[in-house]
Symmetry: C2
Subunit: 123 residues, 2 copies
DNA sequence: CCGAATCCACCACGATACTG
DNA sequence: CAGTATCGTGGTGGATTCGG
């Protein structure tokens, strides 16, 4: 992500905002664990922090927090705090996450197609 | 990319190969400059190394080479060397790049939609 | 002209320990 | 339970230099 600024240079008068939005979106997705997190939310619905941490096996709470914050900032999930004791924070899917799912489905189809091309399965 | 291995853990019995393929694809795309490179190839067709370097303003030859190699390895472009003097290396789009284009179009639509949601444009 | 090799600097991840 | 704080480390991008 170090050179994202360098890509802010205008490119042939193209609307740079769009391309930037693409980059941001892609980088959000490819950040480690995010796919896991998003899939869990779409598959299992609202999930609490601890549960998330358990399901995304191996992630540290620090990184999980960072990811969740980023995803929240981009509207892919929402965060709800219940100020009880002990604290209870739940993360919810959003409409935008549903858009995401469609997109990921297409991505999956594509990568699957290529995978089969690369590794033909002789019957 | 440091934790990609950590994600190799099987996830609920899902075929991990597919998810891995997705990751590889996504990481390929999000690597800096790749979007630039791919767009240029799709828009302008076969392009030589030097031209590519000029169009992708700011990229170093080292990184450009690395990116091109990766993209070639994944079949997104092909490389043709003309052993003349001076040497002439041209990079060509591939069918797979065309698949890519469809996918990127959808991605663009999505990010554009979100962009408009985030920044409503009052007329 | 195309690209390989080297060196450096940065930063994101991971582990650990600690609060409200 | 749900994070924040701090430190150490490896992987990558960038600049530069050299070679065919």
């Amino acid at each position: 992500m170090s050179s994202i600024d360098a890509e802010h240079v205008d490119y042939d008068g193209e609307p740079e905002a769009e391309r930037c939005a693409m980059r941001v979106l892609l980088e959000l997705i490819t950040a480690p664990w995010t796919l896991h997190i998003l899939l869990i939310l779409t598959d299992e619905g609202p999930t609490r922090f601890g549960a998330l941490r358990r399901k995304v096996e191996g992630i540290s709470s620090r990184v999980l927090t960072v990811r969740l914050r980023s995803l929240e900032a981009r509207g892919l999930l929402s965060r709800s705090v219940s100020s009880s004791k002990p604290p209870e924070v739940t993360y919810y899917p959003t409409p935008r996450l549903h858009d995401m799912r469609v997109f990921m489905q297409q991505l999956r189809d594509l990568s699957l197609k290529w995978h089969h091309e690369d590794h033909p399965n002789p019957t």
